[in-house]
């Protein structure tokens, strides 16, 4: 058999069994060793038990999408085998502990027994990490160094035991590789070791820091909490104000209060929490108070599948809040987009005095991969507020629709924000055909401005395409790779990292296509409907997935081939 150019590992076990530790050590080891690496999690909404898993993909080229293929499976429970056997092929190597897992073709490595012998069965995770290192012939010293780093500050006996556990694993891994004549030849490069590696959560949180975010308000909700936690964890260095508010209604109103007084606040939530914020979004629209909201989507309705993924809340975010007011919805498809679009979100909100959304999903915030350092050249933040003079009027009628935004305490003027329809000075009005209507028109003029500032969709594939696959948000990497796999010379992919409002060039790109096929990780194809509403173009077919999991490259390629 030809040596493998890629290798895919699936680790699965109960919550609390140390899957995260194995994964954390392994991905760092692989990256340090010169491999490109991608990892994604799937987990149940429980703290102990159940079956959680991590898929790690190792390659000689950049990888940022999940695959179904499992080259090496490490089950820590019997249930894990049942849950994932649909992904196994004849070539899948299974390594597990015979005493725990019954499987015919499994190579027995007594993880827990080795751990116990060393003093604690929790050392089993490092045995498992060692097995992978042994099978792939990775440098044991690098592994030891990583273990030392991970357990720094703990009792040195713990570190020593973990290193010994890893050594047992390495030995076992080497033996298995020899026995089955495992041949893996993934090209290594010197570039990955010094590259960045981060999750979607990190990219959004760091993008917020780059965007001048100075305060973050949230109520914990998976998968939105990650960004909140990441910003809290670094708040001593950044000085960002962090508050866990009593409920999501309080969250959005606190963020709006902060922006009104000159802050750049971020809110992070998920569908159910965001639903509670909708009146506050409308308040942002009416008072023209900027705000940036990160919504990490998960399947609904109601509590739905709390720890799974779906691009199911586009319509919620698009229509949240009563009344008419402009908004921007950004939907990053890569870590780089997540970083730069989040940075941009703060400036867009500030400039147009509107709510700006960053729409991700559970899959996106939890997955990670290595990537080159970001180029920060020219990255700027521009404050949208002005000093309020004595005669300042918050809602001055302007041609553009944007009134200079004063903030209280900066200049002698009074800054009066009102949720009622108001006059230029911010006083309640019911002058229906006078200032009331003029205010509605003023806010409406911002729709045009915002549209002009829209981020253009990205085209991948031939310029002279006949068929156009359309995708948005987190499906980008899988769709790109799947399109490559189809080998089509006439099909291209158009990916939208801004889904509202659509860039004015969209119609031209859509019209060029003879056939349009949408790819969406939801049940109805909400973006397809939006595209038709905005361009009149009909999507011929929708490739949808809505079981709570993201598309894998293989399944998406197969479904794309069906329509080619």
């Amino acid at each position: 058999m030809a040596p493998k150019k890629e290798f895919s590992i699936l680790l699965a076990g109960e919550a609390g069994q140390g899957i995260n530790s194995i994964e954390a050590i392994l991905v760092r080891l692989l990256k340090q060793s010169g491999f490109h690496v991608f990892a994604a999690k799937e987990y149940m909404s429980r703290v102990r038990g159940g079956t959680n898993s991590t898929s790690i993909r190792i390659s000689g080229r950049r990888v940022s999408a999940p695959v179904d293929t499992v080259d090496l499976f490490i089950p820590l429970t019997e249930a894990a085998v049942q849950r994932y056997q649909h992904r196994f092929s004849d070539n899948t190597i299974t390594v597990g502990e015979q005493a725990v897992v019954k499987s015919d073709r499994m190579h027995d490595v007594p993880f827990a027994s080795i751990g116990k012998e060393l003093g604690d069965k929790r050392y089993a995770s490092m045995v498992a990490a060692g097995v992978v290192a042994g099978m792939l012939n990775l440098d044991p010293d690098v592994l030891s160094a990583l273990i030392q780093k991970r357990f720094a500050g703990k009792d040195s006996a713990v570190t020593e035991a973990n290193i010994k556990a890893a050594a047992h694993g390495i030995q076992a891994g080497k033996e298995i590789a020899q026995k089955i004549h495992l041949s893996v030849a993934i090209p290594q490069s010197g570039e990955t070791a010094s590259e960045l590696m981060m999750t979607g959560t990190d990219a959004v949180a760091l993008g917020a820091v780059a965007g001048g975010c100075d305060s973050v308000f949230a109520y914990p909700m998976t998968p939105g909490s990650g960004v909140f936690t990441a910003l809290a964890q670094t708040s001593h260095e950044t000085g960002i104000l962090v508050e866990q508010v009593e409920d999501e209604i309080g969250v959005i109103n606190m963020a709006l209060g902060a922006w009104y007084a000159g802050a750049r606040a971020l809110v992070s939530t998920s569908g159910g929490g965001f639903a509670l914020m909708t009146e506050g979004i409308s308040l942002s629209g009416m008072t023209e108070t900027p705000v940036v909201v990160h919504v990490g989507q998960r399947p609904g309705p109601a509590t739905g599948l709390p720890t799974r993924s779906e691009q199911g809340d586009l319509n919620l975010v698009l229509h949240a809040g009563h009344g008419t007011f402009p908004r921007i919805i950004l939907a990053p498809g890569s870590l780089e987009q997540a970083f730069f679009l989040t940075q941009k979100a703060f400036n867009l909100a500030d400039e147009y005095q509107i709510p700006v959304f960053i729409l991700t999903d559970q899959y996106f915030v939890d997955m990670y991969y290595n990537l080159p350092a970001f180029d920060l050249t020219g990255l700027e933040n521009k404050n949208g507020f002005v000093e309020a003079g004595e005669d300042y009027k918050r809602y001055r009628l302007t041609d553009s629709g944007v009134s200079p935004r004063g903030i209280p305490g900066f200049g002698p003027g009074r800054v009066c924000a009102d949720s009622d329809e108001h006059d230029e000075s911010g006083r309640i009005t019911e002058d229906l055909d006078g200032i009331s209507r003029q205010m509605k028109d003023k806010r409406f003029r911002k729709f045009d401005l915002v549209k002009q500032a829209a981020v253009a969709p990205d085209l991948y594939g031939p310029e002279d395409y006949k068929m156009l696959f359309v995708a948005w948000g987190s499906t980008l990497p899988a769709a790109r790779e799947a399109l490559e796999r189809t080998g089509s010379k006439t099909a291209a992919l158009l990916h939208f990292s801004q889904v509202w409002p659509l860039h004015s060039g969209t119609l031209r790109l859509i019209e060029k296509a003879e056939r349009i096929i949408a790819i969406e990780n939801n049940q109805t194809g909400a973006f397809s409907d939006l595209l038709r509403m905005e361009t009149g173009a009909a999507v011929e077919r929708k490739i949808l997935k809505y079981n709570g999991l993201p598309f894998s490259v293989e399944e998406l390629a197969a479904r794309m081939k069906e329509v080619l």
Partner: protein, 284 residues
Amino acid sequence: MNTDYFDIPNVEKAWCPGCGNFGLRAIVMNAYAELGLKKENLVMVSGIGQAAKSPHYYDVSYFNGLHGRALPAATGIKAANPELTVVVQSGDGDMYGEGGNHFLHTIRRNPDITVIVHDNMVYGLTKGQAAPTSQIGMKTPVQIDGVFEEPINPLTLAISLGATFVAQGSAGERELTTELIKQGIRHKGFALINVFQACPSFNKLNTAQWFKDNIRAVPDDYDPSDKAAAFRKALETVPWPVGVIYRETGKPTFEDHIHKNDSTPLYRRPRSAERVKKLLESKR
């Protein structure tokens, strides 16, 4: 200072003749003037309701937000710029009904803001339904058999949650209530001033005269620093106590906590994208 400093005479007031709001408006302007507050550093915050329209009727900066949501907005404003004096003025429904959860948690959070609640024991703007402070048995167009629910006691609630300044006044007691508002604004931490007032249009039970007859100033020798005594005092009804019911000094404020060592208003802090560099390095 002249109280006219905060007046904005050309704005029409949307209140009924005889409304207690007029009296309270005069009291608030009086308190501001006596404290010598400057317009540029004062922000008023309110929700929705007849009382919540109050900020429109002063020449000050304000954030007139959503029904029930004045407190989180006020907390956000004070956190963003601790140099501002933040005063919330809203009604009983806004504060104790729709905004009940925020009321609980804002007290726990202890931001340095002053909260003046118009307590007229009825809903005015929506025309006469029961308020959270309506007395049991009061008949309304909706509660036709009389109010059933136990009225909220804002004072015991606030004391039990750790509020550090809890007072009760009445729109009819101009001098006393001016003093309570002044003390509340001077107090470092969350200050609640529950102010009784009449609603001549919709509350025929608790009239201006009724309030006059049913309040009693706390005695001169009353010690508001004794928490257990304050709780007992706050439980009194018919007559209801007015005055400073509870006061505690020295408790750290939310701004002290959240700003750590740097209380610079957020708008004056540098916003360079460069500050992400070090954090990015940690992701290598």
